[in-house]
Amino acid sequence: MSIITVDEILEPKLQFATGNDAIAYGALLANCRFFAGYPITPATEILELMARYLPLLDGGYCLQMEDEIASMAAIIGASWNNYRTMTATSGPGFSLMQENIGYACMTETPCVIVNVQRSGPSTGQPTKPAQGDVMEARWGTHGDHYVIVLYPNSVQESLWITIRAFNLADKYRVPVILLSDAALAHTREKLTIPLQNNIDIINRMPVTIEKSKYHPFRTGFIHPSKVPEMDIFGQKYHTYLTGLTHDWKAYPATDSAKVHEQLVRRFYEKIVDNHSDIVSMELKYMDDADIVVVSYGIASRPALAAVERARAEGYKVGYLRLITLWPFPHDEIYEISLDTKKFVVVEMNLGQIYHKIVEHSRGNSEVIKCFKIGGELHTPKEILKKIKSR
């Protein structure tokens, strides 16, 4: 029986699709072949699509697990068989995943976690969009760790950012959290689906070191990179993985301050040293701007409308949209703050990225809150009011 390709399944063409569709399609194009999840509004459709499509593909598996803890566990396990793996959830499920996300950080296991945000806390407003998980995405699991967090703002971008999430996860051996929200997830927009051979895939670095010299968490032996070469189960290297503090051989070293410090600092360094490769943002109308509207994800849609309206009225307003939320573009914000009188931070929460803007503008600019919760997007008018406020 001839194989079925991703292109056959997705029939590359222009479609009207939702954000959730785009994430599933992006994952298939990125060679994700293992998905484990648990139904939850507004993320369920991703699981449903993967359940439909993954069995068609060679080596593809989709599992509905018993909960989000198990889903997270299963995608970490499968990743070590050289699989690109993903799960998708929303607030309550994302909270349940946190312990195992920490395990993925500690064992440097590439995987992608989609959190289609809804209002919280707790069960909150299941069908309503929110951006309340921005800090949780960065700091949800306990202890010092680093994760990469991305957040698209359109259906088309959801597809591209999903592919990028897999590439970054593999390149830096880190869990990548892809944020979306209930509005983006269910909005239908134009989506151009590319052919799979037009997709750039950056795979994890396999083991190239001979067995006698290979240690699972040894870095810098062949490549200058702070990302260790990644073993695959079923080979000769016999890697041991543990959530305990471990040395480069992967052996527990829980009493050693030195080993702990080296390990955990490296988790930071492998991301921070590659800031410019990971951080991305969209800037518009910045050349003459003395007011800058900062937004991300779905909230950037009314933000851009407000900026354009303000400019039409003669205000020198710029538009800054974060695409990578974490690592945070601290130096970039500082640079911009030197020429900025006022930032307006538009968020669908009661202030999360706001605090980062305050921190990194270092008193150079006034920082105005433009927060909204309850499940409705900002209106451009509400943002415009803040732009004009003094």
Partner: protein, 293 residues
């Protein structure tokens, strides 16, 4: 052909990560015995160490994979079986063995255990049941017998305990065996059978924890108790314990409440395993896809 078992020294050379020894286990701990039985079973079956993945949760028992010269994954508390599900499914060539404790599998991780049985994933789950939380210093666990003392039941345990093997059987496990560390040959035989099973095999090992679970003063007394009070559950079982056969489960549980230990091969049956069912599904899905094209 009769295979001459390797000597203990050879086995040690072949299967242990010597640079991690000595183990963290207390003197007299049963974990080492179970490790010994597992190594002997693997060796007898000639399973490639490259293809062996030991997955564990958190607890003393879950520290075992570290000492084995093979792949090892020491995961989070209670979640080993969920990790193992992802591992086994995406590479069926691997032999996946889960090491877990009674707290790990039957308190925090019980759901994953039952769900994996329901799916019938082909993994071998070895639970070292020392009837308490050894690592955290002797708290009550779901398998601690009623009436026992622990650091968190200073006035005796008033909760009914689980018999994990019967639980596994009721959930539909393909293979279940229950032994104590005093039953070396039976245990090795059951682990071997479990490893050959196409489906989920559960092996429960009652094991002494003389440091955190002070039912008995020392391991010798534990082993004495295991040998004296074990009763065989299975009618056809040929073992060196009492040949008593229970009429029904009720009689069985009554004996357990009276301090007897029920051992034996609890179930051994064939049923389709998850992998096989998934591959069948794949064929159906592909046919349907082509038809609708």
């Amino acid at each position: 052909m009769i295979k001459i078992a390797n000597s203990t020294k050879d086995l040690r050379e072949k299967y242990l990560r010597k640079d991690l020894l000595p183990t963290i286990f207390c003197p007299g701990c049963g974990n080492g015995q179970v490790l010994n039985y597992v190594i002997r079973a693997i060796d007898a079956l000639n399973i490639s160490q490259d293809n062996l993945v030991f997955v564990s949760g958190i607890g003393c028992s879950s520290r075992l994979p570290a000492y084995l010269e093979a792949y090892g994954v020491h995961t989070t508390h209670g979640r080993a079986i969920a990790y193992a599900t992802g591992i086994k499914l995406t590479n069926p060539e691997l032999t996946v063995i889960v090491f877990t404790g009674d707290g790990d599998i039957s308190a925090i991780g019980l759901n994953h255990f039952l769900q994996a049985i329901r799916r019938n994933i082909s993994i071998t789950v070895i639970c070292i049941n020392n009837e308490n939380y050894g690592m955290t210093g002797g708290q009550v666990s779901p398998t601690t017998p009623m009436g026992h003392f622990s650091t968190t039941t200073p006035y005796q345990n008033i909760e009914h305990s689980f018999n994990l093997s019967f639980l596994a059987k009721a959930a539909g496990a393909s293979y279940v065996a229950r032994w104590t560390t005093a039953h070396s040959l039976q245990a090795i035989k059951s682990i071997k059978k479990g490893l050959q099973k196409q489906g989920l095999a559960f092996i429960e090992m009652l094991s002494p924890c003389p440091v955190s679970k002070k039912t008995f003063k020392n391991t010798t007394e534990y082993l004495q108790y295991y040998l004296n009070e074990s009763i065989s559950y299975s009618p056809n079982q040929n073992n060196n314990t009492s040949a008593h056969v229970f009429k029904d489960l009720h009689e069985c549980f009554t004996a357990q409440y009276e301090g007897k230990i029920i051992v034996g091969e609890i179930i051994d049956k064939e049923k389709p395993n998850y992998h096989q069912l998934y591959e069948d599904l794949r064929v159906r899905a592909r046919n349907e896809f082509r038809k609708n094209k």
